[in-house]
């Protein structure tokens, strides 16, 4: 119970609308982060030595060809102006043209190339997230309530082992088991252009399973730690002393409060999931945005890489804001606390 502080008498806008204030600040910091990321991405792809025009033309290009390409791609303009045009384009919905398109002599806008792939990646991410949350809560709570016992030991040790594996190793091992040995599932997840992965659920199984294993291990460990922490708190002890059954203590008291850090962790883990998606899509040749990105890097199409990178970063930052906001809604304490 907090003693009323003298400041309560003269509320500021910050005190009167803490939730709105929090939301505004969080969105602004998110936008600021994104702006910094956009500068980083642009600097890495256009300012570092290694010219975008010669990169896309390859080593055999003559200086004359490179000079023409530089003009065509607008590389003769100053870097600051190019950055402004690029960012302005993205903000107004014009994602620009791919460098590969310039190399083949015609303009190839990026958006039609990546539209379906974004949707495919989104479907994969959604399937994995929908499976991961209930599984990690169940396993984490199980391990936490049996802390130190064999069940906990089995869950904790196996998740420690899996959490340290690169996604492509998990995926390769799954392919060997489910394709080479059992011949149950396909080793690649190719789709014809325009086809939805949802029409071919079999193709989604191994990529989703790989990502699930990779993300489940980490999130289970976090949920376990969160529940153990709340189980030690005074109100949980109080509830136990009052003779409430253990199931009820866990579900009504511990889990609810452990959910807040868990949501935050899911939010923070989104970049591991997205990083994992890039690897898994490449491994299974799944036509998503991650595969598209790696292919664009391989042919050094910096224009497409820039655009995909900023879209992915924006998505991660957006999910983190949503997660933070959910946490505040979940924990009443944070809503009223004057921070």
């Amino acid at each position: 119970m907090l003693a009323p502080s003298p400041e309560v008498a003269r509320p500021t806008s910050r005190r009167r609308r803490p939730l709105l204030w929090f939301f505004v600040v969080r969105v602004l910091t998110g936008l600021a982060t994104l702006l910094v990321v956009s500068v980083l991405v642009f600097a890495a792809t256009e300012v570092l030595p290694g010219d975008a025009a010669s990169a896309v033309l390859g080593k055999s290009a003559t200086p004359d060809q490179v000079a023409k390409m530089r003009k065509l791609m607008g590389l003769d303009k100053p870097a600051v102006q190019r950055y402004g045009e690029w960012l302005g384009g993205i903000l107004t919905g014009n994602l620009g043209d791919s460098a590969a398109g310039f190399a083949s002599g015609s303009k190839a806008p990026i958006w039609p190339q990546i539209k379906d792939k974004l949707a495919n990646s989104f479907i994969l991410a959604a399937v994995v997230t929908l499976l991961m949350i209930p599984f990690s809560l169940a396993l984490g709570v199980k391990a936490a309530t049996r802390a130190g016992r064999p069940v906990d030991h089995a869950i904790s040790t196996s998740s420690l082992a899996v959490v340290s594996l690169p996604e492509f190793v998990i995926g390769s091992l799954l392919i060997i088991v489910f394709f080479t040995w059992l011949n149950l599932l396909p080793p690649v997840s190719l789709l014809a252009p325009g086809e939805s992965p949802l029409a071919h659920p079999r193709l989604l199984v191994l990529p989703a399973l790989t990502l699930l294993a990779a993300t489940l291990a980490g999130s289970t460990r976090m949920v376990r730690a969160g529940v153990i922490e709340t189980m030690r708190s005074d109100y949980v002890r109080m509830a136990e002393l009052n003779g409430l059954p253990k199931r009820r203590v866990v579900s009504r008291y511990a889990l609810r409060n452990a959910l807040a850090p868990a949501v935050q962790v899911f939010g923070q883990n989104i970049q591991y999931l997205v990083g994992g998606i890039i690897v898994v899509e490449y491994l299974f040749s799944y036509p998503g945005i991650g595969k598209e990105l790696v292919d664009a890097v391989a042919i050094r199409d910096v224009r497409e890489v820039q655009t995909i990178a900023i879209l992915i970063a924006a998505f991660c930052i957006f999910i983190n804001i949503v997660a933070d906001f959910l946490v505040v809604l979940l924990v009443p304490k944070l809503r009223t606390a004057s921070a």
């Binding site: 390769s172 591991y272 890097v297």
Partner: protein
Amino acid sequence: MPEALRFLRSGTGGVGLVLLVLVVGLALIGPFFAPHALDEPIGLPYASPSSAAPLGTDELGRDVLSRVLWGGRSVLLLAGIATAIAYAAGLLVGLLAGYTRSLLDPILMRSADVLLSFPALLFLLVLVAGAGTSNAILVIGVAVIQFPQIARIIRSATLAQSTRGFVEAAVARGERTAAILRRELLPNIVGPISADLGLRFTYSIILVASLNFFGLGLQPPSSDWALMISENRSGLTLNPWSVLAPAVLIALLTIAVNMVGDAVARTQEQSALTVGRRS
């Protein structure tokens, strides 16, 4: 048992260390036992295991066993150098930021926030797109990703120590900042560093291996476990060993490093608790 080896008491620590010695040993001295040359076809592509090639052959008919024996050095070396660079920079900046509490502090926090806001792999991919594939870019990229978080950990450990009596005594004696950082602070933050090191090294290995797997790190014909998986994927039905062997070795390596790191971190936590109780 000496202080540094206390982590062996936990089961995972001992098992992890044995595994680690085996895998690193294989990676380091394996090349001396390779029966065939790295880059020379000895049979048909994806041939099944035979007496000449105990693990069969790869996509170009090269001996899988020889390539596996050669393929561990690169990832250990690149990830090791990247982690060392990140730690050297992280130590310097972290110590200074924690001790002087200067403007470095907020800069460090914000840059770590920015780097944590998107996947590390994305950063590496963008870097490679801009600067091309090379080992130097790979090492620098991984080090840049790891550096802010390392600096942050060292900064908070230094901050906690910098108000202790022996530091104030050194300041009162008029010692120079460099001497205080090296003699008074550094020895006292070894604990948090050793707890963090295993995790960092695992992460470096994963990042380096992933880039190699994309074919954007080491270039053929060099032999690397991750690159082998990528190259031989299409021959999985003919000779699964060409993928299974490197995959299992990377798995054992990262699991072993993480197990040792986790055991060291736990031992550190416990000893920090007991020290806290005693004082």
